[in-house]
């Protein structure tokens, strides 16, 4: 029988982790999880066991070196893990190796960790554990000053765990986010499999990432991946762009919310597409988003509005002003409006909330107004990751997504959002102010429509109590998109026509 090339993986059931770990943690081995203080190591260790119990019927042993079992039970309740119940059911066993502050300990002569090893083995036998977590190893080094002895004994314990065949997670401290792997050179004896948790400060914002540094003998995704720690869920890794680009494309068209716009787009928007609507403040983006949603609801669809700039009362009032009754649609369960201040959570958390809202409400179409509000509060890297995660999620779910973005100048120019995400969107609609003989008029143009022909003309549109009315193209004006509209004279128009005339 041919020996398999790679090492088998144990599915952890920690959301997102198994995807970047290409299946899970190396089975029957110990993986070192190193992180600075506050990087969620203990949560990881506890979740490794909790997920095993709740999703895979795999019992676990938690060896705690630092916190007392009581503290751990209390601290993880917020994630929905009832350790006490699992202990009563014989699924979770604690090995309490935490220090007793009341007791005085003196070290005289040579020793080993035979007692600890025996207790761990005993616990594993007691509940038939498949998973072991040990948290965290640095405290042992500070309590027992003989480093060589501690290293040797920990190595012995790890070897014993391998012998038994359990899959283990060992946490260790680090001093710096980007420095040596772990304190006390722990990585030297748990060298085979290393995961690093980071909680770094970038441009005044905290960013949690997980990196699989190495798995001996088996594949994993490289680099750092963002994750969140949220109540009720624990750690959720966001594997974003790993989601393969094999979404099937559809020819099915949906109503954009405005019939003229449908025409400009060659028949409407595609079902699983992302439309970016870009324009200056007040140029009609929210109106377009509102019409997009209302148009869907009118044709029997369910729509979800994620608003990061306006409040619910404002949106409902606006919608009424344009001839739609958002309040009634919500009542009827056809529309859901979610309003959030961007500053209340990290981008990763927002992404998770968006996913949760979609999974729960199951809309056919989704509008986000505006992406720029979210862009303000993240680093460039974080924002790009967010967009990748969002767009792949929307396409996966076969939704139509319309996102608005604000351009920084009134008359034109490109927004930063456009440059970031224009390659990922399928359609781009620009809304521009046009200055004409002392008047400010409005222009709309479709500049990209992947997979379809579309009108190239910049059309004028007006807004009234019935909404948006798209009219005729601007004739005789050049430079609208650059923000410098210039009336072309009749002569010039003729000359241009001549230039492009076919013989």
């Amino acid at each position: 029988m041919k020996e398999s090339q790679g090492i088998e993986k144990l599915q952890t059931y920690i959301p997102g982790l198994d995807l970047i770990a290409d299946g899970g943690l190396p089975k029957g081995r110990t993986t070192l999880v190193a992180g600075t203080s506050g990087s969620a190591k203990t949560v990881f260790a506890a979740q490794f066991l909790a997920a095993g119990i709740s999703q895979a019927e795999e019992n676990g042993v938690f060896v705690t070196f630092e916190e007392s079992p009581e503290a751990i039970r209390r601290n993880v309740k917020g994630f929905g893990w009832d350790i006490e119940q699992w202990e009563a059911d014989g699924k979770w066993v604690f090995v309490d190796a935490s220090p007793d502050p009341a007791e005085e300990v003196t070290i005289i002569g040579n020793y080993d960790f035979g007692g600890l090893l025996v207790r761990i083995e005993h616990a594993i036998r007691k509940n038939g554990a498949k998973r072991v977590a040990m948290d965290s190893v640095g405290t042992v080094f500070t309590r027992y000053s003989e480093r060589a002895t501690v290293r040797r004994e920990l190595f012995r314990i790890i070897a014993a765990l391998r012998e038994i065949g359990v899959t283990a997670v060992l946490t260790a401290e680090r001093n710096e986010e980007y420095g040596e792997i772990a304190r006390f050179g722990v990585e030297e004896f748990v060298a085979d499999n290393v995961i690093i948790l980071r909680n770094s400060l970038e441009e005044e914002k905290r960013r949690r990432t997980i990196e699989i540094l190495k798995f001996r003998g088996t594949y994993h995704q490289k680099g750092e991946w963002p994750f969140t720690v949220s109540s009720g869920k624990g750690i959720v890794v966001l594997p974003l762009s790993v989601i393969e680009l094999n979404q099937s494309s559809t020819d099915q068209r949906v109503h954009s919310g405005n019939e003229e716009l449908d025409k400009m787009c060659g028949g409407g928007f595609f079902r699983d597409s992302i439309i970016l609507v870009s324009g200056a403040t007040g140029s009609g983006k929210t109106l377009l988003a509102t019409k997009f949603l209302a148009g869907g609801v009118a044709r029997g669809e369910k729509a979800l509005m994620l608003a990061f700039e306006e409040s619910r009362p404002q949106l409902i009032r606006n919608s009424r002003g344009w001839g739609d009754d958002f309040a009634a649609m919500e009542q009827a369960g056809k529309l859901r409006i979610v309003c959030t201040y961007p500053e209340t959570a990290s981008l990763e958390e927002h992404l998770l909330e968006i996913k949760a809202a979609v999974e729960e409400f199951r809309p056919n179409r989704l509008a986000i107004d505006s992406l720029s509000a979210l862009e303000r509060m993240a680093t460039a890297k974080g924002y790009r990751e967010f967009i990748v995660g969002l767009t792949s999620f929307v396409k996966h779910g076969e939704l139509v997504g319309l996102f608005t973005a604000t351009t920084p100048t009134l008359l034109g120019g490109a927004s930063v959002t456009e440059s970031h995400i224009s390659t990922m969107t399928d359609s781009i609609i620009l809304l521009r102010y046009v200055e004409v003989y002392g008047d400010i008029r409005r222009g709309i143009v479709v500049i990209k429509m992947r997979g379809s022909g579309h009108e190239k003309e910049i059309r004028e549109f007006t807004i009234d109590a019935q909404g948006m009315h798209i009219g005729r193209p601007f004739r005789g004006i050049t430079g609208i998109l650059s923000g410098n509209p210039i009336q072309a004279s009749a002569d010039e128009m003729e000359r241009l026509d001549e230039l492009f005339k076919t013989r």
């Binding site: 190796a97 005085e104 005289i108 002569g109 040579n110 020793y111 007692g115 207790r119």
Partner: protein
């Protein structure tokens, strides 16, 4: 009031280190306490649950239960002075 010492020594199997610690201890106790002590030697390999109950990490571990306060000494007990200090059998001069 009886000043009887109650001691428990936890070892991992009958290894040279275990035997060493037992031997070292007996010498000290015979000399200092004559008969006024009770020593229980517990092999954690045979009784893992007792190791769990007492939260034994390292072995050998000697626990002085009585008289109070409770003290733990870890190791082969090869340094007599330290053992005496650790068991409150000798005051620090």
């Amino acid at each position: 009031m009886s000043k009887k010492y109650l001691l428990k020594l936890y070892i991992t199997g009958r290894t040279p280190r275990s035997e060493q610690s037992i031997a070292n201890l007996r010498i000290i106790l015979e000399r200092e306490l004559d008969d006024e002590y009770e020593l229980e030697v517990i092999d954690v390999l045979e009784k893992p649950q007792l190791a769990e109950d007492e939260k034994i990490l390292a072995t050998p571990t000697l626990i002085k239960k009585l008289p109070a306060p409770v003290r733990r000494l870890i190791g082969d007990l090869s340094d007599t002075e330290k053992v005496l200090l650790g068991l409150d059998l000798k005051r620090l001069e």
